[in-house]
Symmetry: C2
Subunit: 134 residues, 2 copies
């Protein structure tokens, strides 16, 4: 699993200039997800938020029940917000810098899905291990 | 999200008496998942494994990149094994006792998915919050 595996378009939202505008955008997208299952991402780094606004957004969205962690070349931290279907997804590089900070509207973030090619590779490894003499 | 939300049938596998037999069963199921996308669960508590065999299974399956946690009335811990598509899912009650110990063959465990009714409830809460006067 890697950032490259994510095929969902990350929206660029230069027109959104306040936390309230962003919450409205999230509400619109979540309604679309409920209606037709459309998933999407919002790139928080593309928004002109001050640190205070950023913290205000975090407070408004809150934290829900689920959190997850991916340990790859850089780590990724994910949690469901207080609004199910709205996930906060942060990717770090090996130095620990944030390289992507996203809101993802989905039942579960795309990056958490085992990728088909990884599943096939793993299946081959498992089959290979099972035929080895002990 | 709760155990009750899981509609996937949990297999009862009294006939499986060794770690190797279980690994073969996992391999068969993973192949079926690759071929036709069929997901399934294996109830580890239904298997007559000794603590040593249980640890042997854990070692054989290893740990992959992804892990997750659900904090509900009891916690749930999930991690992807060394074989993508094979997840180890453990549910605890409030006292911290294991109430379910499962292997799940899926792209992502069912319990991590935001449930449609929770998403709808959250959307209503968000819409309600956005129309409140500040």
């Amino acid at each position: 699993m890697s950032l490259d595996d994510i095929s969902i378009k990350v929206a660029d939202l230069h027109s959104i200039g306040s936390v309230d505008a962003l919450l409205n955008e999230i509400s619109t997208r979540l309604a679309r997800f409920v209606a037709i299952g459309e998933t999407s991402m919002i790139d928080l780094k593309s928004l002109p938020f001050s640190p205070d606004e950023y913290e205000g957004l975090r407070t408004s969205l809150g934290r829900g029940e689920a959190s997850a962690r991916l340990e790859t070349i850089g780590d990724s931290e994910l949690y469901e917000t207080h609004y199910p279907g709205v996930w906060w997804v942060t990717h770090y590089n090996v130095e620990g810098d944030v390289v992507a900070d996203l809101l993802e509207i989905a039942a579960v973030p795309a990056i958490l899905h085992s990728q088909p090619e990884d599943v096939r590779d793993g299946l081959e490894r498992l089959q290979h291990m099972l035929v080895q003499p002990k």
